[in-house]
Symmetry: C2
Subunit: 82 residues, 2 copies
């Protein structure tokens, strides 16, 4: 079973990496780039369980380890049979 | 218009950050964690265009700037009206 975490900087939080990537893209000809956010994509493989249990565990993992709630926000996605 | 990039280390490529997160999760009681991959989640906001054009541009961005094809693989998702 697979939990995917999509973590990004909160709105208003400085994101120097995102600014650098945006400038880099524009300088290479992607002139229509308006904004870029750089965050983390984490895949956590766990033993099979119900989707409800996995979701509960995922939010606990986010809170305790993976996400800094002050400056980051996140979404999760549960993938069965992985 | 929003392009989401999900970038992760290729299978077989060393992922020390993933190992560290896995050990950290297990030590905090998430004993059913089997494996962890840590990658990048990037949001690129661009001017509106067709989904086909956006997809083509996204793969060019990945190839030229965002993804190191030797050690990383990626998926994209196009979100309209953002």
């Amino acid at each position: 079973m697979l939990i995917k975490f999509f973590i990004r900087p909160r709105k208003g939080v400085l994101d120097p990496q995102g600014r650098a990537v945006a400038e880099n893209l524009r300088s290479l000809g992607f002139s229509d780039v308006k904004d870029v956010k750089v965050g983390k994509y984490i895949e956590v493989y766990i033993e099979d369980k119900t989707v409800e249990e996995a979701e509960k565990e995922a939010h606990e993992m986010a809170k305790k380890v993976l996400v800094n709630d002050l400056i980051e926000e996140y979404d999760i996605e549960i993938v069965e049979n992985r």
